[in-house]
Symmetry: C2
Subunit: 423 residues, 2 copies
């Protein structure tokens, strides 16, 4: 199948927006700039009033929690977690996870997101959901231990082995949950397994003051130092949150080549604060952008996250040049792809994987077009998205979902929420 995006404004790897032709053949971008001789387009997307972006990458979420949206907002943290989220998770079945994941994938696709890395409790239904709907996902099973730690690892590796070679869009990483929920020994075990199997690692780190204090009490060091001691930190590690990273932590993460995903909305909502993103960028850390789960956000909309990440750090540092729009957009695209280990994703260039998002930019709030990239970060709402392609296949075409039965998903989610007493 050949797809031609004809005369379309496109965000190119140098972060300029220029009008060009983009050809897709199979699951790859065959050419940018000139249509190759002999290229046949089955589908032509006309570029008038359209903008082509690399598909956005959600570098931290828990999509299975999407059905918990709005179930416990504006509450004290302990009440939110112990009184609502934990008991709900305990009642959740694998099938519930499947429908909740589809709801989340649907929301992400509608908002121009093409890939996510997810920490799940039921990896097997999450992978099925992603395979069926065409989304790209890196799956981890949240690992805590020692209690139940072996069981969780076995569940994970069972799924990992079962999916080997089955679907290039569904890949796996090891997900030790956090420094405070895994013992030192368990962390070492998981780190060893990651090296042995050449798998990525995804872990929460320095999310809260609570964690910072606890690890200091238990180990006399910071969470980053503990993880380093256990062998968790490396170039295939993606650390989520990092709100309480100090200067030494940042230098350590930079040295180890760790990627950090910032989740500005979630960190605000849960009262954790604001991550030192400008300092991470300055240290050369690869910073990606994530929504976290719908229970702590409540949306899975990276356009909203873009505006928060570009605005927040200006406000708290007093530096109006902090996290400029282009930097924010990199976080949500090429940095995200790198953080997830998605080779060939995140940029519009010949040979890249065809994960693409088309926006209708004929909107009053994007006019005048003095600086379209800036408007995208400061003004875009998400509804500008008309088409989303993953691996060369349209998951959204002219505003219509092509792979997800919207009504069925909403019906099943409501059914589960009624069973759980949420509706």
């Amino acid at each position: 199948m050949g797809v031609l995006f004809r005369g379309i404004l496109a965000l190119l790897p140098d972060m300029t927006i220029r009008e060009t032709d983009v050809c897709v053949e199979g699951n790859r971008i065959a050419a940018v700039g000139e249509v190759p001789a002999g290229f046949h387009a089955d589908t032509v997307v006309e570029g008038k009033d359209r903008l082509l972006l690399p598909g956005l990458v959600n570098a931290h979420t828990h999509t299975y929690m999407t059905m918990f949206r709005g179930c416990a907002d504006d509450l004290p943290f302990a009440e939110w977690l112990n009184g609502h989220i934990d008991p709900l998770e305990a009642q959740m079945t694998a099938e519930d996870c499947y429908w909740s994941t589809l709801l989340g994938n649907m929301e992400m696709i509608l908002n121009g997101t093409t890939a996510s890395i997810d920490m799940f409790i039921y990896t097997e239904t999450a992978s099925r959901a992603a395979e069926e709907c065409g989304f790209r996902t890196v799956l981890t099973r949240g690992l805590t231990g020692p209690e139940g730690g072996e069981r969780r690892l076995n569940e994970f590796f069972g799924e990992y082995e079962a999916w080997k070679g089955r679907c290039s869009r569904v890949t796996f990483a090891l997900g030790p949950h956090a420094p405070y929920s895994c013992s030192e020994e368990y962390l070492r075990q998981v780190a060893d397994l990651a090296r042995e199997k050449d798998l990525g690692l995804h872990i929460h780190i320095s999310e809260s003051k609570f964690e910072q204090n606890l690890i200091r009490q238990q180990y006399g060091c910071t969470p980053a130092e503990l993880l380093d001691k256990c062998g968790i930190l490396g170039p295939k590690t993606l650390a989520a949150h990092g709100v309480y990273l100090d200067e030494a932590d940042i230098a350590l993460l930079a040295e180890r080549g760790v990627s950090v995903v910032t989740n500005p909305v979630s960190n605000l909502k849960l009262g954790n604060g604001i991550a030192p993103v400008p300092k991470l960028l300055e240290a050369g850390v690869n910073v990606a952008l994530g929504t976290d789960g719908a229970a702590s956000n409540n949306a899975l909309n990276l356009f909203r996250e873009l505006s928060f990440v570009t605005l927040l750090h200006k406000g708290v540092t007093g530096d109006t040049t902090a996290v400029p729009a282009a930097e924010a957009l990199k976080m949500a695209t090429v940095n995200g792809a790198k953080a997830l280990g998605l080779a060939g994703c995140g940029e519009i260039k010949a040979g890249a994987v065809a994960d693409l998002t088309v926006l209708d930019i004929d909107k009053p709030w994007l006019r005048p077009r003095c600086d379209l990239l800036s408007s995208l970060v400061y003004c875009a709402r998400g509804d500008e998205v008309t088409d989303v392609m993953v691996d060369g296949r349209f998951l959204l075409r002219k505003g219509e979902l092509t792979t997800i039965d919207r009504e069925r998903v909403l019906f099943e989610v409501d059914k589960t929420c009624k069973r759980l007493g949420l509706l």
Copy 2:
């Protein structure tokens, strides 16, 4: 003309969302709950998957600046103001202001906003724009002095007198710009005129550290104390920003009955910081919500502002119950109407003015509907808005603008931007 919103979920004054019938007759809500005998509906809006809100109120903006969107982002503050915004304003004509205001009004209508208070440089074209497009607006002319202060007052009162009794939607307030841009004497003069003419007052206050320091140096007090000394503070005064208000300032504003409008995005973008909104609420101050102008935001979308105001203060105070969703929604509706002196606006109840917004809530990101009010504040993007009514008249109906020639406005704005070298 009678309009019936039939079996629609509506946000009621007690901040609950309930299914009801709402009847509009002329420019008023005739009934909520039961359709009165003899009520004739020319138009019926079916309530299935719809939510009726009081029209949102933008309590601080400069709509004439909408054409400056994206023209100078991510720059040091002085370069932004002196190198771009001020020189552009100096070249702007009254006609430019007219088209830029229509662009802003259009954006606000599309995002469910029905009223704004605006600080202008060309009041006459701004009032014409609002009259023609059906928007509700409180107009001020930015007053600085003594230099040119008399001229600006004369311009303002000329326009004010010319509009007396002409259009109930277009009202006026006095707009002394800020403590640092008006002399003490000029502030006293404007305060006296406000009392004499029974007019409201709208002023920037404690927006930046720069202002705080300058006023301390010049007067040995805080901006709020200075304004109080000059007679500016009273129940018809709306103070914008208030980022650097201290405890004593907050107590003073509360005592004087001043309304404060917070502009979270603008305060972040310009590196000014975060206003003490939870403390203002605790002190009983009427707090409203605003976008500020498009040069410092860059959107005029109160749904985005809602998510910022509910999230920011949780993050910076560590209190996850700070500014709950219902409180944020009050700021954007009933508090805003009170701040603008719009009697009868901001609530859905019998006898109220029919300024209303309808949302299509059949959206995956608003599901499940565990807490629709929460989803509205945390997740709504603005594109859910299908219908907007001001003073009983639809300005947006089934997604279509009824009073604004969209293409003409975009054309004229682009023309001006080209003349100003922005495009």
